[in-house]
Subunit: 232 residues, 4 copies
């Protein structure tokens, strides 16, 4: 029996939430779950439809993209996951989908404005949209460079990956992360909902202003940090 059985199951369960939450069809997504003590992660195999996926199909990979266990090829986006794990040592899971509204914003090339408390309950910034990779990086080590693009966007915009757990890669789609694979999936669902709410908001009132500072801080800090009083 695999020594990674429980990690694989965690990864499998998180992956299977994607079709249940309406975030993917066919093979349009992938989730990974990390084991920090072993320095490796479990990830969905490439191109396997969710309806056929089994726990034993999950692939084990280290942070330098070496496959440690598994008879299948890991997700084509593995190098993006690996670089995020390697660089951000607090994250426990990464999720990538092609969910409809989040992709629409990524295609439009626009960061999702923070219009309300649903957004501020989760982060106090617009949901960032990256620039487009230069040609040489696309033609080079593309999935690794996509990881760098995410890291560079956070660095240049002064964002914290502990406070902002989601990004739109322009022309592509959303990547999210969190303290666990389950939380990464939760963030993908939240992002899709915020993306939908914001597009409808703009249809109703194209001149909508962002939520003001006090209100967004109130909502974020009642759920996060030392003075949080939301939850149990």
């Amino acid at each position: 029996m695999s020594k990674f059985k429980s990690l694989k199951e965690e990864c499998y369960e998180a992956n299977m939430q994607l079709p249940e939450l309406g975030l993917v069809i066919f093979t349009f997504g992938n989730v990974s779950a990390v084991d920090r003590s072993e320095g490796l992660f479990a990830i969905k195999p490439s191109g396997v439809p969710y309806k056929d996926l089994k726990p034993e199909d999950i692939v084990i990979v280290d942070f330098d993209n070496n496959v440690l266990e598994g008879s299948m090829r890991p997700s084509s986006d593995t190098k993006t996951h690996a670089l995020l794990y390697k660089t951000w040592d607090h994250i426990g899971g990464v999720c990538h989908t092609h969910s409809t509204y989040a992709v629409a914003w990524a295609q439009a090339g626009v960061s999702i404005p923070i219009f309300g408390t649903t957004h501020a309950d989760h982060l106090t910034q617009d949901i960032p949209c990256t620039v487009i990779l230069p040609d040489e990086m696309i033609e080079g080590d593309y999935e690794h460079e996509t990881g760098n693009l995410i890291l560079d966007t956070f660095a240049s915009e002064g964002l914290s990956p502990e406070e902002v757990e989601m990004i739109l890669v322009q022309n592509h789609g959303p990547f999210t992360w969190g303290k666990s694979a389950e939380k990464a999936v939760y963030n993908s669902a939240v992002l899709e909902e915020l993306a939908k709410m914001s597009s409808i908001t703009l249809q109703i009132n194209p001149g909508t202003s962002r939520i003001k500072q006090t209100l967004k801080d109130k909502h974020f800090y009642r759920k996060h940090g030392a003075n949080a009083y939301y939850g149990q």
Copy 2:
């Protein structure tokens, strides 16, 4: 056994209708149910996902926000519910959600215009959208002030909470109420449907006029008041 068992079950059942009606994901809502003779209400615990909620998790609180029974912290919006119960002595249930289209209108900061009979079957006014709380109230007793904001909007616009059982809190989302928790949830579902219909109406015809007085009165009063002839 709790003396509040049946009130808790009523509250639990009403809460569980929210995910079934597609009005919430994860923890994005809360419903309460009042016991007027005892001067207290039952409310969802804070931050508990709907999929994990059990009847015994429901918390009993009085109108001054004292927890009377329950091992969990009540909803972070409890003070808003309490103030509405304390002030409007005819209401039996309160519901708050982050349903998609209602939130979009709240974010857009626009009252939902009364465009048709689906709306007039339920109320004869636009669905009001509040102003935004001043900073000192957000930084002060925020959830209590949100209750005051709702009350003030009704007072300043001359609205009756018996005729208008719903409101949008700007940048936040909908609150609804009714003679029971079940009716409050019903009103949240109606509000979401009206919000969706109205946004599509404006997309089709940005210059759409409101429904005329006679037609909205006809529909409202065939369902409500002394001369109603709708229903059994």
Copy 3:
């Protein structure tokens, strides 16, 4: 046992298709089924939620709105159904809903343009939207006048109720009919789909032209009339 048992069951089954097809929530619709030989029809009782409806709740009414059997009050829209049955002697069922996109067009006060073959498979005209009733008719025998409004729209626009089996009552919503209650419900589902397709079409291309004569005739007459070759 009721002598109308099978008519009631036909009416019940047709009504229960409405929530299944996503066309109604709660009590937002009603379907009737006629018995031409007896000169009467079966209709949903007023204000009964679909989740609680039982076959024995269905009410039997004649074309002058007299209740012949049933312990419940018939739908508040009964007089509209009755007048359509009385005037158009070929129809076997009538359906009324508040489905989302059809209501949006009715609220916008715009006939649904015939943009494609999905529409032309069912009718060769725009889906008509009525004018608004004058105040005295709203304040008078409203539901009977709504029937007259539908009849007058067909007369003034020279439409045939055998070829056009659907209409939008302005500010209200859709009424559909057909050779049976089941066909009337089918037409409500088709209308909702056409309403959705058309609103998205206009969002993509506000200057979209109607489908040309030859193409709409081709699609309509391959399904209807003497030379039809669609179906079995």
Copy 4:
């Protein structure tokens, strides 16, 4: 027992995926599956609702539209399928639906712009929309001419049916194909998703640019061709 039993079952299973994937209501679609060695294909019978369809209802037809087996009339679109099979000898299945967003683009008469990687994962072109058939072809052998219209569009735009497995027939709706009936259905679901994403993208940012060459090539060729590294 029919010698075409397994072909009929393949065709039946592919057809039944359409309602499951939300791509059709009632009778709004048809799928066929080819047997190249026998020079014939299996196709849905005309006008049979998906809820009533059985494997033995499937009709066997040759490439000149002669019915070889089956007690029912084949789909009214059979001649379009036949011409595609006859001309493009690599395809194994054809699918036609009236899915909502794809029809909206077809009605708008606009090719779907390639805005992102979800699109480029499947094809490197805009999804083509045909012109409208001239009257004499509509009034002539319409379904055969619809096949010619698809072939002519591919020829005049220099498209390869092996790289572009989908098209919008203007004012009508989508046709897709693939190496199997199942793949043709997959392509219909992908097309509907791309159609929805693109319409929302344009609502958010009407000035959205197409994805650049390097990025679309990267995504297409990591999934297709000699250097593909996606999948197993």
